[in-house]
Amino acid sequence: MNAALHLAATLVLCVAAAGPLARARWVWRAPRTGILLWQMLGLSWALSAVGLLLALGLASYDAPVPVALARWADDAVRGEVTPAAVLVVLGLLSALDLAIGLLWTWCSVLRVRRRHRDVLALVARRDDAAPGAFVLDHPQVVAYCVPGARSAVVLSSGALTALTRDQVDAVLGHEHAHGRERHDLVLLPFSALCAVLPKVRLARSVARAVALLVEMRADESASLRHGAQPLAAALRRFGSTRPPEGALGAADVAVEARLDRLAGLPPLPAALRWSALVSGLVLVSTPVSFLIW
């Protein structure tokens, strides 16, 4: 029962911490630390949720989870099944569900990207005004990255007209940071989580928080090379093409937050960054120590 208690406590801690962390502003001052913290929190949550079911179902074996699981499988093959087996099966199924969700999301993302790249190769052109990027002839102001082993950065001709040379460089720096640091792989498990738990609002707000941190990290990288001013100006230029009336959508809130950050949020002191990371490590070590023995 010892393992189950620890895992239950970790699970409660993860769920309780997710809401405040999703609303926290201090992580904006250290986006990379924030992203790592979310990854550790997500991993702890998944491991302790699955582990709790297994530990409860295997409590009667009074052995570490991996050992007990092997014995349980032996017993099950011989037809000796207790009612607690329901919990074990549920635990294995939820692990499978998470794995399939991840795989499914990954495959659909790859399909969209392959198709996108194929079309891009036919209709995009190179332009001296945007070195290293593909240019699409369209009046809409658009910039994006198709991530992958060789990521492609794309700019619309509308963006080239709307932005100054400095701003174009800053935007390209932002998109190249996405590609270089494979931010798509950071976002993947959190999108998969939303797909596996479509009704859970917390999952969506977590995914949104991580997406914002990823944008902020790309902003950080771009502003180190090209300065915060051109990047902020470009962001405003993108924002200003939206309708002035009406409520702010999630995207606008995110843009406001990024502008706030670029306007001069001081970086988080190293001591705080490290204590956040150590807390995350402590959290993740609990389920790992019970499941991987």
Partner: protein
């Protein structure tokens, strides 16, 4: 500059410019400055057909004729919709700089895509 990707692009440009089904030999002729073999052009067109970008139809005699499935503008519109995550759950497929499209503009793009 005669990589397969580059050739596909050039062949596609020929098809888009003509606006009617084109025979392989006409594509060879249009790309004469590249000095391509008939079979090379055939391969390129078949690859495009396999990817779903062109339609192949039987013409007069034993020749095959090729036509683009959609206009260049429609493909650009599709990319723009992809880029702005307006085509379903594609948030993680691409990373866009900032959402910059209004509802009517998105509507116009979707319509451009539907005109076939």
């Amino acid at each position: 500059m005669n990589g397969l990707g580059e050739l596909e692009r050039a062949a596609m440009d020929v098809l888009w410019d003509r606006g009617e089904p084109v025979a392989v030999r006409d594509v060879v002729r249009a790309l004469a400055d590249r000095d391509l073999a008939y079979t090379t052009v055939m391969t390129v067109l078949n690859r495009l057909a396999k990817k779903g970008f062109v339609r192949r139809e039987a013409g007069e005699g034993r020749a095959w004729y090729y036509a683009p499935v959609a206009s260049r503008e429609q493909y650009v519109a599709r990319l723009m919709l992809d880029a702005l995550s307006l085509t379903g759950d594609r948030e993680t497929a691409l990373a866009h700089f900032a959402q910059s499209m209004t509802a009517p503009e998105a509507e116009a793009l979707s319509q451009a895509l539907d005109e076939r």
